[in-house]
Amino acid sequence: MGALQSLPGQPQYADLAEKTGFSYDQIGVLHKRFNQLSHNEETLRRDHFNDIPDLACNPIRSQIIEAFFDRRNFRQNGEGTVDEIGFEQFLVVMSHFKPPSLHITDDQREKIRKEKLRFIFNMHDTDNDGTITLEEYRHVVEELLSLSETLEKNTAKSIADAAMLEVASISMGHMEPDEFYEGITFEHFLKLLAEFEIESRMNIRFLKMDTTTLCK
């Protein structure tokens, strides 16, 4: 494991660095982690993720793992899921969590914002149809509350219903009693979280990663 030198295959890193925006150091560290998770194999599979013990107590574990295998997050306009991923796809998914640099234009900031919100949208929209239906949203809320022992089924449902009502009110404004709100499209999602400031919140500090203190 410790045989990884500091300058392995610079050309392939250059390519990755340009695609994802990471620096060579960051890519090196992530590569180390990738090898550790996959036990030095070429690809990662779902059960590799399931082996991470700290992830087990996370309520939305399965959705996070699915996000890594979701082709929509690979920035190649693909759809559907895969069963195993290589280091490049791993890196691309991770790049969604890179903090934006200080000097960027407003357009770039908007682009980054949309990208991060798209990632979350894809996590909610599990059946790939481009909208988050009431059922899918209910599922999200149920997962979030899955860790608490005393949970009434109705509470999760009513929270999800109230949230959906809010989205519908914000996006549609006025609806006739027999109209039906299909689901949250990406535009409505953007409008909903307009004030959420996701570009500054959805970030991991990749700078100070020390691979020796890893959770196993």
Binding site: L30, R33, Q36, L37, I52, D54, L55, N58, P59, I60, R61, I64, M94, F97, P99, L102, I120, M123, L134, E135, V141, L144, L145, L147, S148, E149, T150, T155, S158, I159, D161, A162, A163, L165, E166, V167, A168, S169, M172, G173, H174, M175, P177, D178, E179, F180, Y181, L193, E195, F196, I198, S200, M202, N203, I204, R205, F206, M209, T211, C215
Partner: protein, 684 residues
């Protein structure tokens, strides 16, 4: 405010004239009472209120006094109440005159009033009351700090904790030493007549004047509604620099007697700083936990719940002051620690009581502090020295700007959200000095230098509060600084906040990086598993945050609906989207729509409205010892009321009762009499 603006201009000016007149009358009363009391005290000292009977043998028998004047008896509480009443009338007056209060911040107006009052008192030849340090630190400061600490936005505070600490500790140290050092240099200038101010006194002065004052910052920033980040940066800094100020002040005070400082003393100073700050926080946390634990058992004595919060916090402050630890940090730690658990335990009414009492006390304290500051300015002996005062003001500004720029340069390397130049400007400009600096200066003992220092301190305070306080609002608008966004309490944002927290924790796990989110998650789990079980009563201890948020929101909405319903008008509808629109449509069914005659509808509406009004009346009577069962305590009650009002609204607009509502909790039903109903079938 809307009600007050409706009467025509004439009566508005009449009201202000009336207020001004009554205020003048009060002035005169105060002054006469004060002088009369003084005369009484001086002359009639030996006259007790009742003659001993043995003395009366040789006296003529006086007729029984029907009306007698005895001011001494109630003098102290009378004067205190009169001062507070005067202060509050002034505050009232400012808000009735709309134009003034938008341009000039309230703190300036209050200091101005204090100057006037002080001037009047001095003109009459009486001795004006001064802002006594004991009064300030023990009675006037704690309510303001508790109010700030209890309602501190925790998320913003902890996210920016590093930045705030750097500004508070390093920034204040830089200010103190820079100002102290440069002032010593200034004092060495020939012809300034300041040769006898030595280095240690200058450093002492620097340490007093360097700290940003929470009272002044709150007073000014409350009115400009700046965005949360900047607000928490400046305000957090003003709170946390108390530890630094306390240590430096005591350090230099000790050494200005001794005369020299050794390296050992400097090291001890650093150790003292750690002890003072961490000790203060520890004391506060202990009292906070005690308070939370006590609140677990108060379900049968709801009336005294707020008192526990206030008393435990005050005890935390006093206990910290006993050991010369930082009382402010102790108070903040107590409030922060107590709040999540206490709020889960206490009734809604107690929560409202706590909120309003804290706001009330801190408002009164703030008003009194500024008025007294004005009075003390006029009263105290002053030693004006142009060089000293002007250089103090200039140096304060310069050191603040340099400090902020330098520290931001370093901090930005570690922050994800960098601080822009605009942010830096606001942070630097918001470094206001206030009454804490004055009180610390007042505690000095050396009379000559004390007057010199006090004059300079007062000038700096006036400069920052008047000049910076008045100009910060137009500057904020000019620079287009981001303002505070409206807190709509959106449930979607709450869901996504939680979602994001878990997502980032998960990604950190996958990365193998023990970061920010990992530790926060661990703390939350520890909190849920152990602490909440001990400190929160009953079932609420296992309630996840999302559910409590949702319940709070429901309660708020329900109360809003009930209140607007009782005002005999139907609630205005923001959007006509309702539950029907989002429920997935089942197979097309024939919906039975009962069409109700107009008179029946009117009857139903009256029944609903009467029930809602009865709730209001029930709430009005209570005894001091036990409150009637609070209808809002039971959440299903709340939901039911909300749905009743919603039904009322829907009836007036759609005239249909939705057929497949499965979510209505079947608590009570409104009975429709069957003979008045006619069914029509909807075959759509």
């Amino acid at each position: 405010m809307a009600v007050l603006l409706r009467p025509p201009r004439r009566s508005c000016s009449r009201i202000t004239a009336l207020l001004v007149r009554s205020a003048c009358v009060l002035f005169l009363v105060v002054v006469c009472a004060a002088s009369a009391a003084r005369r009484d005290a001086v002359e009639g000292n030996n006259d007790t209120s009742h003659h001993p009977l043995t003395n009366s043998t040789a006296h003529k028998k006086k007729p029984f006094p029907v009306l007698s004047f005895n001011y001494d008896h109630v003098r102290k509480p009378f004067e205190i109440s009169l001062w507070i009443l005067l202060a509050l009338l002034m505050k009232l007056g400012f808000h009735i005159i709309p134009t003034v209060s938008t341009v000039v911040p309230e703190s300036c107006l209050l200091i101005f009033v204090g100057l006037l009052v002080g001037g009047i008192i001095k003109a009459i030849g009486e001795e004006a009351p001064i802002l006594d340090s004991k009064l300030f630190f023990l009675y006037l400061l704690p309510p303001i700090i508790l109010d700030a600490g209890y309602f501190l936005p925790i998320r913003a505070f902890t996210e920016n904790m590093g930045t705030i600490l750097v500004f508070a500790v390093v920034g204040t140290l830089w200010n103190a030493f820079f100002i102290g050092g440069m002032m010593y240099g200034v004092c060495q200038i020939e012809g300034a007549k300041l040769a006898d101010v030595d280095l240690l006194s200058c450093l002492l002065f620097g340490s007093i004047i360097s700290a940003v004052d929470p009272v002044a910052v709150l007073a000014v920033f409350e009115e400009i509604h700046i965005n949360e980040l900047l607000h928490i940066l400046v305000f957090g800094e003003s709170l946390l620099n108390d530890a630094v100020t306390v240590v430096l002040y005591h350090l230099f005070k000790e050494f200005s007697h001794a005369g020299t400082v050794t390296v050992v003393d400097a090291v001890l100073g650093v150790v003292c700083f750690l002890v003072v700050s961490l000790g203060g926080v520890l004391v506060g946390a202990i009292y906070g936990l005690l308070g939370a634990f006590t609140s677990r058992f108060t379900s049968h004595t709801r009336v005294i719940e707020p008192l526990f919060v206030f008393l435990y916090s005050y005890m935390a402050y006093l206990s910290a002051e006993v050991f010369h630890l930082s009382g402010i940090m102790s108070l903040i730690a107590c409030g922060v620690m107590m709040r999540p658990y206490v709020e889960a335990n206490i009734s809604h009414k107690s929560y409202t009581t706590i909120k309003y009492f804290l706001k009330m006390w801190s408002s009164v304290s703030e008003t009194l502090i500024f008025i007294f500051l004005g009075v003390s300015t006029v009263a105290g002996p002053h030693a004006w020295n142009w060089t000293f005062v002007v250089s103090t003001v200039v140096l304060c500004l310069v050191s603040r700007v340099l400090g902020v720029i330098g520290l931001t340069f370093i901090i930005n390397k570690f922050r994800i959200v960098k601080l822009t130049k605009k942010d830096q400007f606001i942070v630097a400009y918001g470094g206001l000095r206030g009454a804490i600096a004055f009180s610390l200066g007042f505690l000095l003992t050396n009379s000559e230098m004390k007057q010199l220092f006090l004059t300079a301190i007062i000038t700096v305070i006036f400069f920052t509060v008047f000049v910076q306080g008045m100009t910060i609002r137009p500057l904020v608008e000019l620079l287009a600084v981001k303002r505070k966004k409206e807190n709509k309490g959106s449930i979607n944002e709450e869901i996504h906040t939680q979602f994001l927290d878990h997502l980032l924790t998960g990604i950190e796990c996958i990365c193998g990086h023990y970061g920010h989110h990992h530790w926060k998650d661990k703390l939350n789990r520890f909190n849920k598993a152990y602490v909440k079980k001990w400190l929160i009563a009953g079932e609420r201890s296992t309630e996840p945050q999302l559910i409590s948020f949702y319940n709070k929101m429901e309660m708020k909405q329900a109360m809003m609906l009930v209140e607007s319903g009782s005002a005999a008008k139907l609630p205005t509808i923001v959007s006509s989207v309702s539950m029907q629109n989002i429920q997935p449509r089942g197979p097309a069914r024939r919906r039975a729509i009962p069409s109700i005659s107009k008179s029946r509808e009117e009857e139903i509406r009256k029944i609903l409205r009467n029930n809602l009004q009865k709730t209001r009346q029930r709430l009005r009577s209570y005894s001091r010892h036990d409150l009637m069962l609070d209808p809002f305590e039971d959440l299903s009650e709340v939901r039911f009321r909300k749905q009743r009002v919603e039904m009322e609204r829907r009836m007036s607009h759609y005239l249909t009762v939705p057929a497949n509502r499965q979510e209505t909790p079947q608590v009570r039903k409104v009975c429709f009499e069957p003979e008045h109903q006619v069914y029509t079938y909807d075959d759509s």
